[in-house]
Amino acid sequence: MFSGFMMNTWIAATIVAVIAGVVGFFAVLRGSTFAAHAIPNGAFAGAAGASLLGVNTLVGLAVFSIAGALGIGAFGRRARHDVATALILVLMLGVGALFISLGSQYAQETYSLLFGEVFGISPDVLLPIGILGAVSVLALAVIFRPLMLTSAMPEVAEARGVSPQRIEMVFLLVMALATSMTVPVVGALLMFSLMIGPAAAARSFTARPGLAVALSVAFGLITVWIGIAVSYETNWPLGFFVGVLGAAFFLAGRGWASLRGRRLTRPARTVPANAGA
């Protein structure tokens, strides 16, 4: 399980889980869940286009996910946000469907782009993934305060001269950056599960942002590690385990939240970490 080629898988999946945990926390906090679903799907279209044209997949992924983020950000200001996201999403998926149908070896590639191909990672993608991941986490760290402010109190943010639209755009771009490198690893559809499940669970366990980010990353790591181990043994797709474990964490979080809601008197600061593990 830890032999040569599997090490790439472990490293790549760990990086992906960290990124997804951090970006996902803000996606859940800001209610950008739909965008978190749409942008990886756009990246999928880009990968299909890149393989059709014979250029590097990472280029296709980056171009399409950034275009998707810009589209949602720009369009969302003028129309209802969810409608704009839905239309950008279907547009990119439609283009992706065209690319796939025009390409030749579509079937297997569609499956792996959507659901991931975590066991086929070559060592030379680890460096770009690591760099892009570090850049996205750094970017989020830099805009952490305005990001929190515009998420929690948009009016106050505006009064202080922070433009919510600009922050939204920056956030979507970071999500696009994070997505473009993670899609080849876990797939477009499951990058989404990995961003939302652990982050939503973390939010139910604690209201403190720093702790929630840490918990979100921890849940993400547990999810992919268990997923890879079981997937390696059973040969079942990693995506299945990621999706199911994400939902399980979320249910645990909801259960915890309602339990705590019932016993408000009991201070429970340190328990979440144990409960999460």
Binding site: V28, T33, A79, T85, A97, F192, A200, G243, A247
Partner: protein, 303 residues
């Protein structure tokens, strides 16, 4: 004319089936979609389609007709969404997202098992992107019946649905069972989404649900006009998409048709974008533009 409508278009039975099913799907999706857009549930609509994928791939696995799989999982997902509280705006998207994530995980498993079992790797493509030209004729009556059921539910409920969408408090005060109405609507949404998933694929059914409705809501005044306009846009877009896909067989690369779903999606987005051409002027002077008829020609241009 010869170049636009290729010879043999109407004598081809897959095309006739596609036009028939496409029309039912387009009308149902458009009418349901008006409420989806009004209620701000685009994400739920899209998620239902994606979760229905799980059913489609599950049906593929056990050798059933895809449509029943789509329908069963779509309706179950709608009930789950309702049960864990889509009616609360706060946190609704997150809950939807988690259900979607779990459904996609299952879909991954089913598709994987399907390819292990039957060695047909094309399954994932068909399930996700659909193909209106390969609908089995035996399911057509069921498809039409489901479309009619969804339409009847929505039209019967339209008044209370609109009220409870726009202002749940007022509706509740007037004795409307907001939750039951919402649940009935979600089931109708699930049915219509399952229909469109079979026709143009799960990942693209959102296009027919949201696009025509959002376009209609921008150019038509009043819910009834919006529903009719949305249905017209949906039907025109679907017909044109089928026509173009049929024609595209003769486009490069030769002997390979472009997917119908691509054309339908492209036309849907185009129609929506066209509403922006004259809208900004309208918005600044809302008093001047009462006539929704003025927008009609644009629909045809857009489609």
């Amino acid at each position: 004319m010869h170049y636009l409508i290729e010879p043999g278009l109407w004598s081809s039975s897959p095309v006739r089936v596609a036009v028939l099913v496409g029309t039912v799907v387009a009308i149902t999706s458009a009418v349901v979609g008006v409420f989806t857009v009004t209620r701000g549930q685009s994400f739920a609509g899209h998620s239902l389609a994606d979760v229905a994928t799980t059913g489609g791939s599950g049906a593929f696995l056990v050798g059933l007709n895809q449509f029943w799989g789509f329908l069963a999982f779509g309706v179950v997902a709608a009930i789950i969404l309702e049960a864990i509280g889509v009616q609360r705006r706060r946190g609704r998207d997150v809950t939807t997202g988690v259900v979607l994530g779990a459904g996609l995980g299952l879909a991954a498993l089913f598709l994987y098992l399907g390819t292990q079992q039957s060695n047909t790797t094309g399954a994932s493509f068909t399930v996700l992107f659909g193909s209106i030209f390969v609908i089995q004729s035996s399911t057509i009556p069921a498809l039409i019946a489901c479309g009619v059921i969804a339409l009847v539910v929505i039209v019967t409920l339209s008044r209370v649905l609109l009220l409870s969408s726009l202002s749940p408090e007022v509706a509740a005060a007037r004795g409307v069972p907001v939750r039951a109405v919402g649940a009935a609507y979600l089931v109708a949404l699930a049915i219509s989404v399952s229909l469109s998933s079979v026709a143009i694929g799960a990942v693209l059914s959102t296009a027919l649900l949201i696009g025509p409705a959002a376009t209609a809501l921008r150019i038509a005044k009043g819910p009834v006009r919006a529903m009719v306009t949305a249905a017209v846009i949906g039907v025109v877009v679907t017909w044109l998409g089928i026509l173009l896909a049929y024609d595209s067989y003769y486009w490069p690369p030769h002997g390979h048709a472009w997917p119908v779903s691509f054309f339908i999606v492209a036309l849907v987005v185009l129609a929506y974008l066209l509403t922006y051409l004259h809208r900004p002027a309208r918005r600044r002077r809302p008093g001047l533009t009462g006539a929704p008829g003025a927008a009609r020609p644009e629909v045809e241009v857009g489609a």
